[in-house]
């Protein structure tokens, strides 16, 4: 299921940008639509850059063919059924023992903290400085915008291509297993049955989006939430006017961003 969700990334960003446009949030719309356009253009360029093994193409060269058993298939860039714990990101993200069902059932081992205490303390300190000025001021806006740019730039690179380690094609005959390059457009596959489930996370996110969508459609006007169907923003906004809550929320947002950037960099490294 996650593979299909991934394929919808660009349409989701585009639709969100259009929604922002409709609600009159022009900056938000510009950011989302620009990112969607950049992803689309870059995705097209990536497809043109994907290297192909030399030599004649046979049925066995297709991604679903027998060469899938090549030496690189068990490598780090195969985002499919490979348990996350076996990636080069290794034990940090998903735990080293996530190797599918065992007699005792699937397990996820311990992992280092995505947000170490030093990063949490740094986030709390920055949040303290920012929260002192309250919301919606110039300093806060500049910091948030700068963080957004730096996060996106950091997360943009694609994983490096693997080194060619298998036997080379020397002529029209394919004599051995061939390297398999990561295919940017190939949808990742879901883990086989019996592995740990990810669908509860997707269900929760979808449920939240559904409730928010219903509330959004009941909005009286732009940013004027319906009393009967309040949006999440209209419920949370007033709570954030309290400086202590703002500080806590800002600390969580900064620390969460730090964790996501670490995950993104780890994934980008392959």
């Amino acid at each position: 299921m996650l593979g299909h969700v991934r394929d919808l990334s660009i349409p989701i960003v585009t639709i969100t940008g259009v929604v922002h446009l409709v609600r009159g949030a022009l900056v938000d719309a510009a950011v989302f639509l620009a990112v969607a356009a950049a992803l689309a253009v870059d995705g097209t360029a990536d497809r043109g850059r994907v290297p192909r093994p030399a030599g004649p193409t046979t049925a066995g060269h297709t991604p679903a063919g027998p060469l899938q058993a090549g030496p690189l298939q068990a490598g780090p860039l195969q985002a499919g059924p490979t348990p996350a714990g076996s990636t080069p990101g290794g034990p940090t993200a998903a735990g080293p023992t996530r190797a599918g069902p065992t007699a005792a059932g699937p397990e996820q081992g311990s992992e280092p903290l995505l947000v170490p205490p030093s990063a949490l303390a740094g986030s709390a300190l920055v949040a303290l400085l920012l929260a002192a000025g309250g919301r919606f001021n110039l300093a806060m806006t500049i910091v948030v915008a700068a963080l957004g740019v730096s996060w996106l730039v950091t997360a943009w690179p694609q994983p490096a291509r693997p080194q060619v380690t298998g036997p080379q094609v020397t002529g029209p005959q394919v004599t051995g297993p061939q390297p398999v390059w990561p295919q940017p457009t190939e949808p990742a596959r879901d883990p086989p049955a019996g592995h740990l489930a990810a669908w509860p996370w997707a269900a929760a996110a979808l449920g939240w989006c559904l409730v928010e969508l219903v509330s959004f459609l009941h909005e009286v006007g732009r940013d004027t939430s319906s009393v009967d169907h309040p949006t999440f923003s209209s419920l949370i906004g007033p709570v954030l006017d309290n400086r202590l809550v703002l500080w806590l929320a800002l600390t969580g947002w900064l620390a969460g961003g730090y964790a996501l950037v670490r995950i993104a960099r780890r994934a980008a490294r392959g």
Binding site: G95, T141, L152, W201
Partner: protein, 70 residues
């Protein structure tokens, strides 16, 4: 129950559910993948990776920056 109360209850239920899910996923016997592992798996491809960060950034932008509230 009014529509407002129902809407708030839905948000609360999802919030509580997410916390419970997160706690459950960290148990040794859990059959639910950890959120960090799900995100890492999604982030192996550029587009979802950017979408995840863009969504998180927008949360801050919307609630904190003056241009985000306009």
């Amino acid at each position: 129950m009014t529509s407002r109360a129902l809407t708030i209850a839905c948000f609360e239920a999802i919030g509580v559910g997410l916390v419970a899910l997160w706690l459950h996923s960290h148990l040794a016997s859990a059959r639910v993948e950890r959120l960090s592992a799900v995100l890492l798996r999604m982030a192996r491809r550029r587009a979802p990776r950017i979408v995840i960060l863009l969504a998180w950034w927008w949360v801050g932008w919307h609630f904190l920056a003056f241009a985000g509230s306009a």
